[in-house]
């Protein structure tokens, strides 16, 4: 265990960044934005290279044995770090909330899961609640609206933190979104298994986003953002979609989700 204060005094807390399988495969920019933000907030960042997926798809599909195996892999990988930070509410909630439930009959792994859960944070809430950090000299003259992803909102209580961070971005105006806390219809496997229902939900959501007149849609969970960006683009919308971390890291002038590099 490297939960040592020597590292803290040497150069801030040592943070293990778990980027999530979706960010790894689909949007590396979010991972690099997270590194920038954590370093700006005084952390030493390490990316454990053996990371894969947190196991959420197995957990949500009822494959508990599979979820347990993947959880054990992830716990062993991440437990050396003083903090573990994840740029996704639902993956952070899997580690923080559901790992301990998975091992409720296994005292050894349960204890390890609880210890990891206590040190694991979603990125935006970590920056505000643990590091007390707000961006300085980040400017983006644009209007944006915010979608609160359900896992982050209801399992981790993330609501105020992204708004506080974004309020510190010069020139960025945040417009209220009707039904900001209503699910976008992603739901992991749900969106392909029950595609027609998912589509009806996201179509309604895309209309609410359009109705804000905002240029940007921001959020904290890539799954939801891909669902929303994909629907907005299919509907011919010009709304550009970013993960909040990208905006905070000053990458808002780069390509949005789905824009060719």
């Amino acid at each position: 265990m490297l939960q040592d204060s020597s590292r803290e005094s040497a150069g801030g807390p040592c943070v293990g960044l778990f980027v999530s399988c979706l960010v790894d495969a689909m949007r590396p920019a979010i991972g690099f934005a997270a590194i920038n933000l954590l370093e700006a907030a005084g952390c030493r960042v390490e990316v454990p290279l053996q990371q894969t997926c947190c196991g959420q798809p197995a957990l949500n599909s009822g494959d508990l044995a599979g979820a347990r195996q993947i959880a054990q892999h992830t716990i062993a990988l991440l437990e050396p770090f003083q903090y573990v930070v994840v740029p996704s509410g639902s993956c952070a909630a899997t580690i923080r909330v559901h790992y301990t439930e998975l091992f409720h009959e296994d005292p050894v792994w349960r204890a390890r899961a609880e210890a990891l859960a206590a040190r694991t944070h979603e990125l935006l809430s970590f920056l505000v609640d643990i590091r007390g950090w707000l961006p300085k000299q980040v400017a983006l003259p644009a209007s944006a609206t915010y979608h609160d992803s359900c896992s982050g909102l209801r399992e981790l209580g993330i609501h105020a933190q992204p708004r506080r961070l974004l309020a510190a971005v010069e020139g960025l105006s945040l417009r209220p979104l009707e039904g900001n806390a209503t699910c976008c219809g992603f739901g992991g496997m749900f969106c392909v298994k029950y595609a027609a229902i998912s589509n009806a939900i996201v179509a309604e959501k895309a209309q609410s986003i359009e109705a804000t007149g905002a240029e940007l849609l921001l959020g904290g969970d890539l799954g939801c953002l891909m669902n929303l960006a994909g629907k907005l683009h299919r509907c011919g919308s010009r709304v550009r979609v970013f993960h909040t971390a990208e905006i905070l890291a000053g990458m808002g002038d780069g390509p949005a989700i789905g824009e060719a590099t």
């Binding site: 508990l64 892999h73 739901g187 969106c191 029950y194 027609a196 009806a200 994909g230 789905g258």
Partner: protein
């Protein structure tokens, strides 16, 4: 009509529901109104969260001591002159009700709305026994005319727009009048139903609460139809699930505050009635016979199977009104008596998991149902429990299981995982036009309705390795 719908697959029922634009209008009107009013009621009630904890604790206490409170209720109900019957199953309960009706020589019964009655199949049982059933709740009256099952536990006719209701009344009512306003439609239904109340031989109601220390039955309605159903006929039959017990009237009041605000946003219903025993000497009105049928119907099995928290449910409907899935597909697509999140937990228990395995899975696990539940039922956790059962009992398809096995193997072998994801990302790029993929093999569920952003040339970990100096 309902039978034909139930025989369709879940996907087919969903397709029908999504193709019906009037259904969406009807759902949005009623659930939108309900959400707005509930939100206003909660905003004006700073004590909600502590009231919710109290409500949860009352229900948990009663459920943990069902044996005690059932016996106490039975003793006090008998002392008040009620006749108490016990039914282990729905069919048994129907037999008891039909036998009471026959003994009373009943040709016509009036019924006030009760989801339990639907659950046990009472309308069908009465029809089989050739006893005419008159539904007196306005919405139940509407769906009886239409031949539909209920589509919501509070507003059974939620799937009908007011325009459709006007058409129905015009076709079926003896004296419909102009029907050009909601008031005129209500007046027409009132004219239609008034005579039926007085002509009925038996009145059947449900129960919102069974009060153990007095043996009384509490019903809440907004139309007064329960009172007109239970008072004029010579015989009143209550059908109630055993989980409706509360220790005392004070506990019923605590639950009532949660129930009404969560259901309609009002502080109280128009009518809150306590039915305690038959007509006594000197009473001006009331039934000569008062029967209470206490029904298990799988409830004790729920206790044994890890669904005890579901027995807290007070049938307020808030989880339906806030469910993104219910709001798109409505109640009938669920193909069961109870729709929405609470229904997706109950139906596998009532109808069997193989027949209803879509319901716990057709959910995004967004958690809003649990957030609005007035007795804090962990609905997403219970739905996950059914998913676990689907997987562990082999009800998941072989294709999905094999897919997961491959994915799990890769997730546990990072080097192979890196190669596989690099290859997947490389192949996906073949289907991209600009930054987007509009169509791709094996991704039809996604690309049929939305575009997929083009993945990067290399995954994050590969890029990170190249950028960062090796330790």
């Amino acid at each position: 009509m309902s039978g034909a719908r139930e025989r369709l697959s879940f996907d087919a029922r969903v397709r029908d529901a999504l193709a019906d634009p009037l259904l969406k209008v009807a759902i949005d009107r009623t659930t939108g109104n309900a959400r707005t009013k509930r939100a206003a009621a909660m905003a004006a009630w700073p004590g909600f969260s502590s009231a919710r904890e109290l409500g949860r604790d009352i229900k948990d206490h009663v459920i943990a001591h069902l044996d005690h409170y059932l016996v106490q209720f039975e003793r006090n109900a008998r002392a008040s002159g009620a006749q108490v019957h016990w039914a282990l199953s729905g069919p048994e309960a129907c037999d008891i009700v039909v036998a009471i009706c026959r003994k009373a020589g009943a040709r016509t019964v009036t019924r006030s709305k009760s989801m339990l009655g639907e659950e046990i199949g009472l309308p069908h049982a009465l029809q089989e026994a050739a006893i005419e059933r008159v539904e007196t709740d306005l919405a139940e009256h509407i769906i009886q005319l239409a031949g539909d099952p209920p589509s919501h536990i509070i507003w059974p006719a939620l799937h009908k727009t007011r325009e459709q209701v006007a058409e129905l009344f015009h076709a079926h009512h003896h004296d419909p009048g102009t029907l050009d306003s909601i008031e005129a439609m209500v007046a027409s239904a009132r004219r239609e139903l008034r005579g039926r109340y007085l002509a009925a031989d038996v009145g059947i109601s449900g129960a919102n609460f069974l009060i153990a220390d007095t043996g009384a039955v509490c019903t809440v309605t907004n139309e007064g139809n329960a009172e007109l159903t239970t008072t004029p006929p010579r015989v009143h039959i209550v059908t109630a699930g055993i989980e409706k017990l509360v220790p005392s009237c004070a506990h019923a009041m605590a639950m009532l505050r949660l129930l009404v605000r969560s259901a309609t946003g009002a502080e109280l219903t128009q009518y809150t009635t306590f039915h305690c025993g038959p007509k006594r000497a000197g009473d001006l009105d009331g039934p000569a016979e008062f029967h209470i049928v206490l029904i298990d119907g799988g409830r004790t099995r729920m206790l044994a199977e890890g669904l005890a928290e579901m027995l807290r449910c007070i049938r307020c409907g808030a989880c339906l009104n806030h469910c993104v899935v219910y709001r798109q597909i409505g109640g009938h697509a669920y193909g069961s008596v109870y729709p929405g999140p609470m229904g997706s937990v109950l139906t596998p228990m009532l109808d069997g998991l193989p027949q209803s395995k879509d319901l716990p899975r057709a959910c995004t696990l967004n958690g809003q149902c649990q957030e609005v539940c007035p007795v804090a039922i962990p609905l997403p956790t219970l739905l996950r429990g059914w998913r676990d059962r689907i997987w562990s009992t082999g009800l998941e398809s072989v294709t999905v299981r094999q897919g997961f096995a491959v994915w799990r193997f890769l997730a546990l072998h990072p080097a192979l995982y890196r190669q596989a994801s690099a290859m997947a990302v490389w192949m996906m790029a073949w289907f991209a036009r600009g930054g987007w993929i509009a169509r791709m093999p094996l991704a039809g569920g996604w690309t049929r309705y939305r575009d997929m952003p083009r993945p990067p040339r290399r995954p994050f970990i590969a890029q990170y390795r190249r950028r960062m100096p090796r330790p």
